[in-house]
Amino acid sequence: MSDKNWEPKIVAFVCNWCTYTGADLAGTSRLKYPTNVKLIRVMCSGGIDPVFILKAFERGADGILVSGCHPNDCHYNAGNFHARRRWTFFDELLEYLGVEKGRLQFSWVSASEGKKFVDVVSKVVNDVKEMGPFKSYDELNSEFMTKFPDMPEIDKNMIIKEEEAV
């Protein structure tokens, strides 16, 4: 893929109660943000394992957002506090190992902060666009003769042919 029309792949791990609902509100309010972002819903930001991040990078994610409820507003009271400690370590570790800060970002977005969700997501997309594709991590895959099998490409011609047949 040429760098010119390269679009970053962004994954957001979000908690069910605050950020996912905040993203719903962004939709209900018809706010706009780039299509690069795909959300993976978990119950609580406390339930997001750092290995998820590694997995996502392995699978070609260029940037990752982790988001949950604001402190004191956690649906489960304390999940986000545990998450905060966990991410403090993981963030430092990845940065130390040479992963730029902007690749992995964190936020608190409450259910009523649709606008903030849009701002945060747009910031992550912009930051990652500026940094370009995450080549360093992709090079870790270079030893593989076969990369991860891509999910079947949807052949648009095939659909058209089928339509004609009908």
Partner: protein, 665 residues
């Protein structure tokens, strides 16, 4: 595994930016997908029937619905799936509306994203496990925290429905702030007269266990099954013996050591006291901090006069545990005290208004006591400094409210009304007096509210000035109020005899501590958060905990009462069945591999992880491992992310499912 994919157009809502037919056609080619269809309104009856028919016809094992947020229609589609014979947890929703069509413009890009979202859902549903809902028993008893008007109303409603109630109040008497008010807007009926019958009703109700001078210490358990520990503070009076004759309170030689907080510090009270004459229960409390006996070991005047030997100096705090099914939090508010700047608070204080320094600058509740027939002045308007009748009073609204820079951003909602009431009460008694009100806007939404304010202005001649007061200074017994009339665009100066500040309603001092004890979220001001601002204003986000009154946000009496009744109804809904069904999203330990580090136990916010002993065939314990109490687990999954060996998994959101979603990105 045969998967059905159903793409909803949601009329134009999804269809406008997502090419739904293209999505459904594309998804046909996904591995495992047996059938992929799109339809105008999937949640409609024909839409649901289509899903059901396809499930039956194609013998589908699982379905993915590309539609609105799972928070909207997940239940609907799960029900349809159940009707057609598949487990409700083999249904996944791809959020094509809120997370795709509504937030994007580019049709091509949005459609590509929609396909990705459906693909992720398909990969997840492949790994989903069929689950069955969990049933837990319900204890049909309610705990009401706070004995103000909201707590009283909630307790009476629940008790009248036939369920037991434990009402906990931290003060010696129930009644709350409403018992302090002189008259109430907009009818000007006497507050005590309408409240005290309710207080007595609570006291005499066979289903209500009243615990005054008590505080909630610990809350364990979960919806339907709470165990609550309540600290009953030592009254130093034996409640079973005291008849409430009040002889001890009149004979107590401590006269001027403690302020009477019921009178908002405008009067003194003895060391042994009943907060106010109509107190319920009418049993005094001995204040250890001022009582002579606790200082010198002498006096015991109360013991001498008590014919019932009810005084018990060595009484200790006791801890009572109660089994509770639902909790109604009605802890109310307090007034923002402008003289003090609490440490670490966002409040900056209003030193320029001289409250606390000038005796005749009082707050709203103090003025209520001055106006009250049972107050320290017996209802005559006398100013605190010299007892003279004030001939000119200035009322200042929005002190601390709607003030980002020095107070709080929110509107305290009731001050416009009670200031009108105050001015009116004053004019009714002091006919030649002058009342000035400095206001920012008059907010008098409510039945008969606007009329009430108009009456104050038009019939009683209260002078309303739109503007803020910059400074109050004292000069020869008068208070010079300097402000601005913004409508006339000119500075204004009034030499008042007395100033009344309508200070902000704020959360109780211990509001956040109590929230942490119960486990409910609160906002930055300390007010408790409702589960949904519009559709679930009564529930907290914690199951089985409901909110009533001003602990949620500033409210007047009718609103508090309405909310209290609603909270009572919510509790009764819970008690409507003997068993409670809950989602089976709970953690489960892999007993083979758990190393027993109990990190999960440490991080669990609900104490749901217990220690389980593993025994060999001879009954010898060979290891201790974690065990999840399904009833307590709320399914946050913090344990699963913490577990170093991944020996604990959250049903419905297990790691395999998440990995599959990541892989499908």
């Amino acid at each position: 595994m045969k998967i059905g994919v159903f793409i909803c157009h949601c009329g134009e809502n999804i269809g406008r930016t997502v090419d739904c037919p293209r999505v459904s056609k594309a998804c046909q080619w996904l591995p495992g997908v047996e059938v992929s269809l799109d339809y105008k309104y999937m949640c409609s009856d024909p839409g649901q029937n289509m899903i059901k028919d396809e499930i039956r016809k194609k013998k589908l094992d699982a379905i993915v619905v590309g539609s609105c947020s799972p928070h909207m229609h997940e239940k609907t589609f799960r029900k349809a799936a159940v009707d057609a014979g598949i487990n409700p947890f083999l249904v996944e929703i791809a959020n094509l509306r809120e997370h795709c069509s509504w937030v994007h413009d580019d049709i091509d890009a949005a459609t590509d994203k929609a396909i990705d979202l459906v693909r992720m859902a398909v990969e997840k549903v492949k790994r989903n496990q069929p689950l069955t809902t969990i049933e837990v028993p319900v204890t049909k008893r309610t705990l009401v925290i706070g004995g103000g008007i909201a707590g009283i109303q909630a307790a009476l409603d629940v008790a009248n429905a036939g369920y037991e109630v434990v009402l906990v109040e931290k003060e010696p008497s129930i009644g709350g702030h409403m018992s302090q008010l002189s008259e109430t807007f907009p009818t000007l009926d006497c507050s005590q007269c309408i409240l005290t019958p309710r207080m007595v009703e609570v006291y005499q109700h066979p289903k209500i266990k009243l615990m005054t001078y008590s505080e909630v210490e610990k809350v364990e358990g979960f919806i339907g099954n709470f165990t609550v520990t309540i600290r009953k503070k030592a009254r130093h009076i034996d409640e079973s013996k005291c008849t409430g004759c009040g002889l001890c309170t009149t004979k107590c030689p401590v006269k001027k050591k403690a302020f009477n907080s019921f009178e908002e510090n405008l009067a003194y009270r003895p060391a042994v006291y009943v907060p106010f004459p109509q107190a319920v229960p009418n049993i005094p409390v001995i204040d250890e901090t001022v009582c002579t006996y606790y200082k010198t070991g002498k006096c015991q005047m109360c013991v001498k006069v008590c014919g019932r030997e009810a005084i018990s100096f060595d009484q200790q705090d006791t801890l009572v545990t109660e089994e509770i099914g639902a909790i109604i939090v009605a802890t109310g508010y307090k007034l923002y005290n402008i003289e003090k700047k609490p440490e670490g608070s966002m409040i900056k204080g209003y030193g320029e208004y001289g409250y606390g320094k000038y005796k005749d600058v009082v707050d709203g509740l103090q003025f209520e006591r001055i106006a009250s027939a049972s107050g320290p002045t017996s209802g005559e308007f006398k100013r605190p400094s010299d007892g003279k009748e004030p001939k000119k009073i200035v009322f200042i609204q929005c002190v601390g409210s709607r003030d980002d820079s020095k107070g709080f951003s929110y509107c305290s909602k009731i001050c416009c009304m009670y200031t009108a009431k105050h001015a009116m009460l004053y004019k009714h008694k002091v006919h030649d007096g002058e009342a000035y009100v400095f206001y920012m806007d008059i907010r008098s939404g409510g039945k008969m509210y606007e009329e009430f304010v108009r009456r104050a202005i038009e019939e009683d001649g209260v002078k309303y000035i739109r503007g803020r007061v910059s400074k109050i200074t004292e000069k020869n017994g008068k208070y010079i109020v300097k402000g601005e009339d913004t409508l006339a665009s000119m500075p204004i100066e009034i030499d008042a005899d007395m100033v009344v500040l309508a200070t902000a309603m704020i959360a109780q001092t211990e509001a956040s501590e109590l929230a942490q004890t119960i486990g409910i979220p609160y906002d930055k001001y300390g007010f408790y958060n409702e589960a949904h601002p519009k559709l679930r204003p009564i529930e907290s986000t914690t199951g089985g905990v409901f909110l009533a009154g001003a602990c949620q946000s500033p409210k007047d009496i009718p609103e508090s009462v309405a909310m209290a009744s609603a909270a009572a109804a919510k509790a009764m809904v819970l008690f409507g069945s003997d068993k409670l069904e809950r989602e089976p999203v709970v953690a489960k330990v892999n007993e083979l591999f758990c190393a027993g580090c109990f990190l999960c136990k440490k991080v669990c916010p609900y104490g749901a992880v217990e220690v389980k002993e593993m025994k060999d065939r001879n009954g010898v314990v060979y290891k201790e491992i974690a065990y999840v109490n399904e009833g307590l687990c709320q399914g946050c999954g913090t344990c699963t992310a913490s577990c170093p060996s991944k020996s604990i998994e959250l049903a419905g959101f297990n790691n395999e499912e998440v990995f599959a979603q990541i892989a499908a990105l």
